[in-house]
């Protein structure tokens, strides 16, 4: 077993470690106990992940003498809603956990976002430990402290900032992840390259097969991604500025997810982001900010790994442009009238544009729908 890598997130007063490596679930109890004695935990997970990884985690916690009460929720984006939030809160309270005890999220971004939100509001904030099991959760959602749920009005509209106390990313569990989910997480990895790491994007273009196959390239790409995210979060924890760059591809992506009813058979988050990033590059080219070649390069790479890159890649009827614009208008990234988008001047040269005319976006989307 290779030595785990540790990415430090040195937030003032709430510094925490992201531990990345093979076999971490089997060592989770020891990793937690080494950092904090005598705490009890509630483990929240989904049905799919429970069948694969819950018993080893509970065994590991048990060996370390950590009392753990599990809660298994349905898998899928629909679980990120108020009804399930109430279930998680009730479970934590029924388990009689105290303020210093912890909620453990074992699963993908859905379980992480939902149970992190619960950990942030029960007793006005409990400890929180992430054990991310999807690639997306390992490289993105488990880092940075954003938690939340969706409502009929849009994605992630309700939530809190609540930093984890520890993240344990076991790279072995990715072996049971479907290819499609792996690709979705890969889109977020590629995003870090496209934001401000052109060398990393180039490295991915050359090494993506090894990343998909597992082994050292995979762990390395995950660690680079966690570090990239952590750097942005440290600089701007509450998204008053630079953190918004992490939304590259997400304004379009969220609108597509909303317009397809958060139906994971049609579109999962990372797929929306993949299409959204291509749209952001194309829109930037269209606004004469970037070269169309960059947009081609991005879509070529994402297609190569098997990700959707066009509106027409979405199965089922396409949402109307009005519907998409409506979702974009309710997006958190909106500021009075003009739209805020992450646009780009090239590979690894993204920036926050807060003066995007909605009419331009509308025209662009109309064209894209027709093409």
């Amino acid at each position: 077993m290779s030595h785990p890598q540790i990415v430090k997130v040195p937030l003032e007063g709430r510094a925490y470690d992201i531990v990345i490596g093979a076999g971490l679930i089997a060592r989770a109890g020891a990793e937690i106990a080494a950092r904090r004695k005598g705490l009890r935990v509630a483990v929240v997970t989904d049905e799919t992940v429970a069948g694969l990884h819950l018993q080893p985690l509970l065994a590991s916690l048990g060996e370390a003498g950590i009392d753990a009460s599990p809660l298994v929720l349905p898998a899928g984006e629909k679980t990120k809603r108020f009804e399930e939030l109430i279930r998680v809160c009730d479970h934590i309270l029924e388990s009689r956990l105290e303020r210093g005890d912890a909620v453990v999220a074992l699963g993908g971004g859905v379980i992480g976002d939902l149970s992190g939100f619960a950990a942030g509001i029960v007793r006005r904030g409990m400890r929180f430990i992430q054990v991310p099991t999807s690639l997306l959760a390992q490289v993105d959602s488990s880092v940075g402290g954003k938690t939340g749920i969706n409502t009929a009005h849009g994605k992630n509209l309700i939530g809190v900032f609540h930093q984890p106390d520890l993240v344990l990313a076991d790279t072995d569990v990715l072996d049971t992840l479907s290819k499609r989910e792996f690709r979705a997480g890969y889109a977020e990895m590629a995003k870090y390259g496209l934001i401000d790491k052109p060398d990393f994007f180039e490295w991915l273009e050359r090494n993506w097969q090894a990343v998909f196959a597992g082994g050292p390239e995979r762990a390395q790409a995950i660690a680079i991604s966690c570090q990239a995210k952590a750097d942005v979060v440290i600089a701007d924890e509450r998204e008053s500025g630079a953190r918004a760059l992490l939304n590259l591809g997400h304004t379009f992506g969220h609108a597509l997810e909303a317009a397809t009813g958060y139906d994971s058979r049609r579109l999962v988050h990372g797929e929306g982001v993949a299409i959204g990033m291509v749209l952001a590059y194309e829109f930037s080219a269209r606004m004469n900010l970037a070269s169309p070649d960059d947009a081609h390069r991005v879509s070529r790479h994402l297609r190569a790994v098997g990700l959707p890159t066009r509106l027409s890649d979405i199965e089922g009827g396409l949402p109307t442009t009005d519907m998409l614009m409506d979702h974009i208008g309710q997006d958190k990234k909106v500021q009075r009238g003009a739209l805020t988008f992450i646009l780009t001047r090239g590979i690894g040269a993204s920036f926050i544009a807060d003066d995007v005319p909605p009419s331009e976006v509308f025209r662009f989307l109309e064209e894209k729908r027709a093409s």
Copy 2:
């Protein structure tokens, strides 16, 4: 109209004003607009308060050019629950408020706690303005940033810390408050004296009739109370230490509220606190920490203003001691095994005791139930 008093809460990066005075609702629009231009608001209130004070507030906001969408909820403690929280969140989102817009709470502590919680979680935190209309809300719940709801497991078990951006305490609106509710708020004012302001408690013993009658003594007592609370909050915003002193009378009080099903016909919060403070003084005397004379002095004063001070003052059957202990055990103030209570060495000499044996509390309550 007398000049309003301003208590400053200089929290780092989130400093805010508590403005206290007559006629403030009629000036609310101007007060808000003077501090922030161009924001829109959702006004949350309850049916009772809406009938009395909503139109003047909306008129005042309208005059100042502030777009406001009202939401009127049922009055009473039962409104502090998940279902109503969801309604408030939906209302904010339907009103299409953005991150920089504000939720305005017009009402007592119930409306303040509930809508402050919603303001803390919609878009991961919006602006929040308190217009407290009950005495309890003016001297206590509107200051300090604690928000939350109740669950079947206990009071305020779910919530966030979310500081207001402004508090407007219009002392005129207290004229429409029932005598019973005024007394309940008075219990929290007396609490500040009992915690660490013996002179203020003595002043209240002499001036309580003038405070109840209105006029300068009332506004003065409110301002002293706000300042007292603000001082504690500044020293310990997240209740890692000294802030717990504000819970004087509350561990018992919350247990009584829970055991009477949060039924305001039987017990309102401030009444629970009044009984709880007397119990805290009596229990302290029993533990040989304070003189029984102090307990008598506290109960004499609270009885004089018309507050309940004994378990037997609660109408309907008394909860069993087991039931009370169970609620005390679920209280946020519990730390592994030993109970944390605010006890006292005398008038204005309260302290945090974190080693109270549950068995002593049980025995004490058994006796009290019998007496």
